[in-house]
């Protein structure tokens, strides 16, 4: 099979999957319905302050697995649904930011700066249209970069990196994530170390499961769902309730603003916005391709670069950034949305998750089986069919289809979601907690899993209170086993060379980079502290 055949097979696998129903004799595949359902759900959760894409992904995963089973045929509908959520949530986050000055997702915070002032001036619909257009543009650009870059990167890695280099690459990824997430390399390293320690409990090659304290409970190790959902979701729920308790924040009453002026998005508007959208899309894509940096930084950088351009080029009548400038919304939304596609570059080409949404995609793929994200996926075998490659192109098709949905119905659906802000957080958060614990139980069917998740939730809360990012913990938990296995093989293949991580020039460079990124960020932190 040639490259074209694989792409065609992927497209057909998506559009001609199991038939759900037919319209005028034309079969509609379950994959199409799942991407649509995920996308609409994603917009809803994105538009609900207190929820976000990863929460919806976490809760729907066990239901999806139960519905579709653990067979390769489940991959496209399940991953398609999760991709739909990921994309929908990015768009939906702008709704409460613009209408109510409350970002639905953290990366929509900068959108409030110009979106809410526009809404206050009666231009809410126009602001939402600008946010949607910019978000869809950034997302589409980012996906195109993913489609082109991921296979090439994977082929290069597979061709040039052997076991020591792959081990060094995993160490570099962990070191990079520890150094850049949360702004404190020290706390990032602690978070990474805790994640590694947790995943190593109850595993290993000895007959006795290591670090299990002689108990059966620990001998089986911590289920991945308890660690991931506990630290990410339960920790965030605890923090949210704590904040509510302390601040006694009032919710539910909003002043109505009457719409005024032109609400449409015209070609002349688009022409004015495009320079901001294109710059931010590039920034977001570049940031998204690096694991762990995230969409909030992309939004901040996109906004800052846009602001600087606006100050130089604006006419005297134009509003400043922060006072209701449409360019401010465009710069932010294009930047944060262009992260989502590019974030899958390290997932698909290296098997390294870069953000929380990617964590759930890997979790789903690992649970179902038959698709292991990493460089091996992009083996273009000619004599036999590589089913993983067909799935990869099926996923690309799902992403492209979600973009089509975004361009066609996304804006309309997004503008109806303002109502989601009215759900009070003090009712939403406890419900999300029970929902998450129920989702964990039905996957593990033992109360131990609830206790583990609760323990990880407390850890996640403590980490947040100590300003330690929980994401390095989760990524280390996911990559820990892979790192150990890779190191064992590399050590063995190098003839038991204790310096196997420095045995080749590429591995040495990767290891030096791993140390260098930590030293650089620590030094920068020290200078900031003393300034």
């Amino acid at each position: 099979m040639g490259v074209g055949d694989y792409i065609l097979q992927g497209i057909l696998a998506f559009f001609l999957g199991s038939e759900l129903f037919s319209i005028f004799g034309i079969p509609v595949s379950i994959n199409i319905a799942m991407v649509l359902a995920g996308f609409l759900l994603g917009i809803m959760v994105g538009a609900t302050p207190g929820l976000a894409g990863p929460v919806a992904m976490a809760i729907s995963l066990p239901l999806l697995l139960s519905s579709f089973g653990y067979h390769a045929s489940a991959l496209l509908p399940v991953l398609g649904f999760l991709i739909g959520i990921m994309k929908g949530a990015t768009v939906g986050g702008a709704v409460p930011a613009i209408l109510f000055n409350t970002p639905g997702t953290p990366d929509a915070y900068m959108t409030t700066l110009d979106g809410f002032p526009m809404a206050q001036k009666g231009q809410a619909k126009k602001a939402l249209r600008i946010a949607h257009f910019s978000s869809a543009s950034g997302d589409t650009f980012s996906d195109l970069v993913l489609f082109v870059c991921a296979p090439f990167l994977a082929i290069i890695i597979e061709a040039h990196l052997d076991l020591p280099e792959k081990t060094a690459l995993l160490i570099l990824s962990l070191s990079f994530i520890a150094a850049v997430i949360g702004g404190s390399p020290a706390k990032g390293l602690i978070s990474t170390g805790l994640g590694l320690l947790a995943v190593f409990i109850g595993t290993g090659e000895d007959f006795y499961p290591r670090l299990s304290l002689g108990t059966d409970q620990l001998a089986r190790g911590f289920p991945i769902t308890t660690a991931v959902l506990g630290v990410l979701i339960l920790g965030a729920v605890f923090e949210g309730i704590d904040n509510l308790l302390r601040e006694k924040r009032e919710t539910g009453s909003f002043s109505a603003v009457r719409e005024s002026g032109d609400q449409g998005l015209h070609w002349r508007d688009i022409r004015r916005l495009m320079p901001y959208i294109s710059r931010s899309a590039l920034i977001g894509t570049a940031i998204g391709a690096l694991p762990g940096i995230g969409s909030t930084l992309a939004a901040t950088l996109g906004y800052t670069v846009g602001k600087s351009r606006h100050q130089k080029r604006k006419s005297p009548d134009d509003l400043d950034f922060g006072a209701g400038a449409p360019q401010g919304i465009a710069a932010t939304e294009a930047a944060n949305s262009s992260v989502s596609g590019a974030n899958l570059i390290p997932v698909l080409s290296l098997g390294i998750p870069g953000n929380a949404a990617a964590v759930f995609l890997i979790l789903a793929a690992e649970s179902i089986g038959g698709f292991v994200p990493g460089p091996a996926v992009f083996k273009f075998t000619t004599d036999t069919v590589n089913p993983e490659l067909v799935i990869a192109f099926g996923l690309f098709t799902a992403m492209a289809f979600a973009n089509v949905l975004n361009w066609t119905i996304g804006g309309l659906f997004m503008r109806t979601m303002g109502i989601m802000i009215r759900i009070p957080k003090q009712m939403l958060l406890p419900s999300v907690l029970l929902l998450t614990l129920t989702a964990i139980y039905i996957q593990e069917t033992r109360l131990e899993a609830i206790w583990f998740a609760l323990g990880f939730g407390v850890l996640g809360y403590a980490m947040r209170k100590l300003e330690i990012s929980p994401l390095p913990f989760v990524i280390a938990f996911i990559l820990g086993d892979k790192l150990e296995l890779s190191a064992r093989r590399a050590f063995s293949a190098s003839g038991n060379d204790p310096f196997f991580l420095f045995s080749t020039p590429i591995a040495t460079i990767l290891m030096l980079l791993a140390i260098g990124v930590l030293v650089y960020t620590a030094r920068k932190r020290r200078l900031e502290a003393s300034a």
Partner: protein
């Protein structure tokens, strides 16, 4: 502070309620010291006592990596992080100030959840015992755990306890409205997780 990657600080949508920070706080130094101590305990006490093989092992004249290397590496990560906190970020300007009320909050929350799940665990079997006592039957909960309404009893009561308890904690008291919402939430979850799926077991029915 709004943090980097999407989805991580999802439930904190503004600065309101974030941990207060204080330039004079020494929490980095305390945390750093604790991390170095914890890493030393892991590497020099827990791992040697609770792992069978060493860092490197010789098996049939072949040297291979033992089970201790990975957890020792994790401890090294924690120790380096702790040392950086102690010596590089000790005077960092944005150190969180921890309060006793954080510990109290998480303690109360954990108690509510643990109590709720214990109620969930025992409410069903207890109900069956009461019915047996009243009717003289010899029903066994284990045999009824997949049939309605028995399978919902524990989840319904325990779930309401958890949701209403946490709402009461957030609002400083229980109201009829909150109780009604808790009932509605639990019914909705039963409809989502149990009714459409034959093969899923609601808590605690996998344990009883």
């Amino acid at each position: 502070m709004i943090e980097g990657p999407d989805g991580i600080r999802t439930l904190e949508t503004s600065n309101i309620g974030a941990s207060p920070v204080d330039n004079r706080s020494n929490s980095n130094a305390v945390l750093g010291g604790l991390c170095v101590l914890a890493a030393a305990l892991v590497a020099f006490v827990w791992v040697p006592l609770d792992v069978d093989s060493g860092v490197v092992e010789q098996v049939r004249r072949r040297v291979q990596i033992g089970d201790s290397l990975a957890p020792v590496t994790a401890a090294v990560f924690i120790a380096i992080g702790g040392l950086l906190l102690l010596f590089v970020e000790r005077r960092s300007p944005d150190q969180p100030v921890l309060a006793l009320q954080n510990v109290r909050f998480i303690g109360i929350s954990a108690v509510i959840i643990i109590a709720g799940f214990l109620i969930m665990r025992f409410a069903g079997p207890l109900t069956v015992d009461v019915v047996n006592w009243l009717t003289g039957d010899d029903l066994k909960y284990r045999l009824l755990r997949d049939s309605a309404p028995w399978k919902f009893i524990g989840y319904f009561i325990g779930g309401i306890f958890v949701v209403a308890g946490l709402m009461a904690q957030a609002e400083g008291g229980i109201t009829r409205k909150n109780l009604g919402i808790a009932v509605a939430v639990v019914i909705a979850l039963i409809l989502i997780f149990d009714v459409p799926f034959d093969d899923l077991l609601l808590p605690p029915n996998g344990d009883v």
